[in-house]
């Protein structure tokens, strides 16, 4: 039995009070930890996924939706744009690179992205096995896709309509896995990339650009899906798919049922090929001034800068985050006060013990230390429990909301900010114990011991 053991014994002796104080601190620390994990991981993920991309061009609609769907692969696209836009922008001298994206299909919830190898290169994607796709229906899969689906090289799979994995299967040619990427820590890990032509072909188009739009845009005869698509290119992707009726039934109970089906990259009615969005890299800073305006003047197109949209999103979220953080800090201050009150009143009843400890030879400094330790132990328990609860909540959120997991949210990572929170909580516990502990230097041993209470 040491003085440290005595600190523990005192905490155990008023177990209910101790538990409540720990609970209070756990709540505040957990809240702060959750905020830290969310904001740091999301901000970092935002940055990594948007690396190298200066501008996104897509169909008119919400710019944020365009960014979310084409860079982070979380929302449905705003619509499709003519393939001709690619050449138009590639001809622009201020543009360094144009990467087309054709979205709309998925395999077991992993998006199939029709694109070019430049897309993979943008994220520093390196093949772990196999080779880059060279022909239609060849697919290169991200590290997470390979891990979760267990797909290996040569594996054949059939893409299904829609981005959420609950659409019906295409009854056409299966894709073949020709390459598996090493993990990049970016959106690429959970994508299946293939030539744009695969997407066109999957939707009944011959890969070479068709000549002229001979057919009526509204004629859906060429579309071979067995349910009724309401292809409406007004850019309001969310709205027009609300009317989308699945007749074939959903086999799983995903909460993404409500998610609207995105547009198919290839327009079913005409011979004119389309893509979903273009990722643009500038050659010169001049482009930033001129290009977005130029694009937004086009009737069908809109340009959105990831940096601008994400800053806007984060500042919107930021207000909420600041409010929650302020609340959590208030909660922590409250728990500090509560520890102070608990120790202060406990020590009033323990003056006799303190005197006795002095008689038994404990130095005042040692007794002071053991009281401060009591506050520190309490705070440390609350802080560590708070970190555990915070991570558990994040793990549970990532497990129950696939969107969060897809955004890269993981509980298996610790931030230095968490260490700061834990240290702050422990420091606060020590501080709360400091004033009550000073009592030991004022206690009159003889008088206290003579007291018969």
């Amino acid at each position: 039995m040491t003085l440290a053991g005595l600190s523990l014994a005192y905490l155990k002796d008023r177990a209910l009070n101790t538990a409540l104080n720990i609970l209070l601190l756990t709540l505040s620390v957990a809240t702060l930890v959750i905020l830290v994990l969310f904001s740091s991981q999301l901000a970092e993920r935002f940055e990594r996924d948007a690396q190298g991309i200066d501008l996104v061009v897509g169909a008119k609609g919400s710019p944020l939706q365009l960014i979310l769907s084409s860079i982070y692969q979380v929302d449905v696209p705003t619509g499709n744009i003519p393939l001709a836009t690619v050449d138009l922008l590639r001809a622009d001298p201020t543009v360094a690179e144009v990467i087309p994206l054709a979205l709309g299909d998925s395999f077991r919830g992993y998006r199939i992205v029709g694109t070019e190898p430049a897309y993979v290169e943008n994220f520093g994607g390196v093949l772990a096995q196999g080779q880059m796709f060279a022909a239609d229906y060849q697919a290169v899969i991200g590290a997470q896709v390979a891990r979760e689906t267990g797909a290996g090289l040569g594996q054949k799979f059939v893409g299904s309509h829609g981005l959420s994995g609950d659409g019906h299967d295409h009854e056409e040619t299966p894709y073949e896995v020709v390459g598996i990427l090493a993990p990049t820590g970016t959106v690429l890990d959970r994508l299946i990339v293939t030539p744009v032509g695969s997407i066109w072909a999957a939707h009944g188009f011959a890969p070479p650009p068709a000549e002229g739009a001979a057919e009526d845009h509204d004629d859906h005869a060429g579309h071979d899906h067995d349910h009724d698509h309401d292809h409406d290119h007004d850019g309001d992707g969310h709205q027009d798919h609300a009317a989308h009726d699945h007749e074939d039934g959903h086999e799983d109970a995903h909460d993404e049922h409500a998610e609207a089906e995105p547009e198919h990259a290839a327009h079913a009615g005409g011979g004119d090929l389309e893509v979903t969005a273009l990722l643009i890299k500038y050659r010169s800073s001049m482009a930033a001034v001129r290009l977005p305006n130029f694009i937004n003047k086009q009737t069908e197109l809109q340009a959105a800068a990831p940096a601008v949209e994400m800053t806007r999103l984060l500042s919107l979220l930021g207000v909420g985050i600041d409010a929650v953080r302020a609340f959590a800090i208030l909660l922590m201050a409250t728990s500090g006060l509560s520890i102070f009150v608990a120790l202060y009143s406990a020590l009033r009843q323990r003056e006799g013990d303190m005197a006795m400890l002095r008689v038994m030879g404990a130095r005042p400094g040692a007794i002071f230390g053991h009281i401060v330790l009591e506050g520190v132990l309490l705070a440390a328990a609350g802080a560590l429990l708070g970190v555990a609860v915070g991570h558990a909540v994040v793990a549970a959120s990532a497990a129950s909301f696939p969107q969060l997991r897809d955004m890269g949210l993981t509980a298996a990572r610790f931030e230095t900010a968490e260490l700061v929170i834990v240290m702050a909580a422990i420091g606060m516990g020590a501080l709360a114990a400091l004033i009550p502990a000073l009592k030991v230097f004022r206690v009159d041993i003889a008088k206290t011991l003579a007291d018969t209470r």
């Binding site: 039995m1 053991g5 155990k12 006799g352 013990d353 008689v359 030879g361 404990a362 003579a450």
Partner: protein
Amino acid sequence: MTTPAEPLIEVRNLRHEIDGRCVMAAPAFAAAKGEHTLLLGPSGSGKTTLINVITGLITPTSGEVRIAGQLMSALPAAQRDQLRRRTIGVVFQTLRLIGALSVRQNLALAQRLALGQNDSTAIEALIAQVGLTHRADARPRELSQGEGQRAAIARALCARPAIVVADEPTSALDDANAIAMSDLLLATAEATGATLLIATHDNRLRARFDRTMTLAAPQVAA
């Protein structure tokens, strides 16, 4: 430094006043190693005050206290604490067992503070000696007054101090236990060669002690 002849406790011209009132005036007194002394006197005569002076918890108004040859009033606080920790075991009138700890833990803490280490065999033996083996895990508030006193005595003895000072250690005990307790104190003191000073007005103990020291009511003494 302490030869057997040199007294372990030595008191001279001791007087203590509170608010100008003399509350304790002790006759000259010395106790050698291994001597057992009963400190007698009516209630309010200053027995507890004298014990506080001897243990260095109170600095007397005048007079000298030497413990193991060292003048208490000349020692800085830290050294006085150290001398008390190494040399004296105290049983207080109000027991002062630590409520958050079991009997066993109370003993272990005292031993740890005095010796810097724990010897659980010695503790168990002592607990058995005071007849508390079945109550070793009990908290002080769960003990009867007599059990508490026995626990406090065991705690004072567990570091095997050279001096054992006890203030009314048997006031709440029945005859059998009072005799058993004083026998325990005497036997332990005998075994360890400790010097024993017991303040009491319990006449049952009188016959068992070779020496007594009597405090008169201070008003009379002054």
